[in-house]
């Protein structure tokens, strides 16, 4: 049996080598089928890897708490202190929206100056620690500004760009009629994108402007690693203390879960596309192989006359397909992996390869090729030697 298998493999291999163009044509089926699956999953996993890496950078241990109920909804004044009382919380910062728009020029009587920012937030310097946020130029607003109620402000990155702020230049902005000196520009915030379109002022300056310290509309809560879910479930009760007011608690891990859900849908779609391309590939292989069987009728007749059994004639075609299946599927997987690698490097993604997926795809490609060869192989095996020899 082993000798038979060895001889069949040898015959199959020499037949393939004798017709390289046809072999390539047949191998295209598994190459494309497996390539589509491995490539699409590779790109999907790499974008997911990029998302995870981004969350890692942002801190998966951050929770945001928003007051619900429209533009003027506020959390309790003491929301930040209450949140900080949870043992797993390592830092809290409140974002209080100061209800005055900012402009680059002094308001002229009743005609307001054009606004330069979406929001003006009163913040403490805890913001920078909690969000692990630096400055893109200048300095942060800090304890000294807070203590002396200095008329200073920081610009979100987009605001600075919009007004053409030159780092180091003297820039004055106005919140209401109050002139504030710009001391720095915040670096881009990915997690709290509103900050990029906002002006930040010290809380004490805000209470001077408004006459009272504004209540925060949002809390950003940093927690110990691995406690985000647990802490998030505690926060609503702790923050409202059973009082009125609805709030929404979100944490990046949830976003990730939502993303994973989306990924699953996409993965199903990719699987369907991969399956279809494999099916098309299988028909292609069966087609090319059927033509090969008809073209090689005389060779089949000669082999049958020389005493080769129907079994080895059929097996020869199946093994030809198996060889092409292994080579084609592996080549498809390798080519797709190379494309994923190049795309990921060019796009600056984190390369995530899943050998398991690739192996399953290669096995499926191989199986598809072998299955597709069964019908042509059975036709070859069924040929009567004399009929095959007499064929032109």
């Amino acid at each position: 049996m082993r000798a038979t298998l060895r001889d069949v493999a040898w015959v199959a291999w020499s037949s393939l080598r004798a017709r390289p163009a046809r072999a390539v044509l047949m191998a295209l089926g598994p190459v494309l089928g497996v390539g589509v699956i491995v490539g699409a999953f590779g790109i999907l996993h790499s974008t997911e890897g990029e998302l995870r890496a981004a969350l890692e950078r942002l801190g998966v241990n951050l929770i945001t708490v928003d007051a619900l109920g429209g533009e003027n909804a506020r959390l309790p004044d003491v929301a930040a202190e209450r949140a900080a009382s949870i043992p797993t919380v390592t830092g809290v910062v409140g974002l209080a929206r100061v209800s005055a728009s900012a402009s680059a020029t002094a308001p002229d009587g009743d005609v307001g100056a054009p606004p330069i920012a979406n929001d003006v937030f009163a913040v403490s310097d805890e913001l920078f620690n909690v969000l692990d946020l630096g400055v893109s130029s200048g300095r942060r607003i800090g304890e000294v500004d807070e203590a002396f109620k200095l008329p200073v402000a920081m610009l979100g990155l987009q605001v600075a760009r919009n007004i053409g702020f030159e780092p180091g230049s003297l820039q004055v902005i106005y919140v209401g009629s109050q002139a504030l000196a710009v001391v720095g520009v915040l670096e881009r915030s990915v997690l709290v994108s509103e900050l990029n379109f906002a002006v930040l002022i010290p809380s004490s300056t805000a209470s001077d402007l408004l006459g009272a310290a504004p209540a925060p509309a949002r809390l950003i809560v940093a927690v110990e690693a691995g406690t985000a879910g647990r802490t998030a479930s505690l926060l609503p009760d702790v923050v409202t203390y059973g009082g009125p007011g609805e709030l929404q608690v979100r944490f990046p891990a949830e976003l990730l879960a939502a993303q994973v859900e989306v990924d699953r849908t996409v993965a199903t779609a990719i699987f369907a596309i991969g399956f279809l391309s494999m099916l098309v590939g299988a028909f292609g292989i069966a087609n090319v192989m059927m033509i090969a069987v008809l073209e090689r009728r005389r060779e089949i007749g000669v082999r049958r006359a020389l005493g080769h059994t129907r079994f080895v004639i059929g097996a020869q075609f199946v093994i030809e397909a198996a060889i092409l299946g292994v080579i084609g599927a592996s080549a498809g997987a390798l080519a797709a992996a190379a494309i994923v690698l190049i795309v990921s490097v060019v796009a600056g993604w984190v390369v995530v390869m899943q050998p398991g997926t690739a192996l399953i795809a290669v096995a499926a490609g191989f199986a598809m090729t072998v299955l597709a060869s069964l019908y042509p192989a059975s036709r070859a095996a069924a040929m009567e030697p004399l009929d095959a020899l007499r064929s032109e």
Partner: protein
């Protein structure tokens, strides 16, 4: 073969062989003559187990093989019967050695030994130096000699040659006939279906087939 009948078609059957009995002995050169369509090729096909008789018996080395399943008939063909065809029927993508080796496949023979046996067989037909040439690089006479090497390499009991010189010039035909005669000198029985009167003259025995019947055994 004993009392072999062969007919084709169900509705209006055409009889290709009618009650043919014929034996080939070891070392015998038997010529089967007759016009085209007389039934020579059918006779050879049935003797060579490429086709089944409608009735009657086919025996190889005294064993009835007519009713055996296809796989066993194939194995008998591989071990006991060699074929030489008018059109040579070499496999185009294999070289001469590869073509001869094809007759030795699936018999559990080691690859190295197979190569040696094929080289010996080519040597016997004077083509030891042409082993690595493909059929397209060989003349018609050389191709037929490769086919003879392929028929003889497995040490068969009988070689069936269907018009082996039909596509060859006189010199090459003579050469091919000589190698077949040499084979028949040993233990191999050689049956040649032919129109060629020269072959008839050189054969040990001649039978003539007409309308599917042997009319002139000698």
């Amino acid at each position: 073969m004993r009392s072999v009948w062969k007919s084709y078609g169900d509705a209006a059957p055409v009889t290709a062989l009618a009650d043919v009995s014929l034996a080939v002995d070891e070392g015998e050169l038997l010529a089967v003559t007759g016009r085209s369509g007389s039934g020579k090729s059918t006779l050879l096909g049935i003797m060579g187990l490429l086709d089944r008789p409608s009735s009657g018996e086919v025996l190889v080395d005294g064993i009835a093989v007519g009713g055996l399943p296809d796989a066993k008939r194939s194995r008998t063909r591989a071990r006991k019967i060699g074929f030489v065809f008018q059109q040579f029927y070499l496999i185009g993508h294999l070289d001469a050695l590869g073509n001869v080796e094809t007759a030795l496949l699936y018999r559990g023979i080691d690859r190295g030994e197979m190569r040696e046996m094929a080289a010996d067989a080519l040597q016997r037909v004077g083509l030891g130096h042409r082993g690595h040439h493909r059929p397209g690089q060989l003349s018609g006479g050389e191709q037929q000699r490769v086919a003879i090497a392929r028929a003889l390499v497995g040490d068969p009991s009988v070689v069936l040659a269907d018009e082996p010189t039909g596509n060859l010039d006189t010199d090459n035909a003579g050469l091919v006939l000589r190698y077949l005669e040499e084979a028949a000198d040993g233990k191999v029985g050689v049956v040649i279906a032919t129109h060629d009167p020269d072959i008839g003259a050189r054969a040990g025995r001649v039978v003539t087939v007409r309308d599917g019947q042997i009319v002139a055994p000698s």
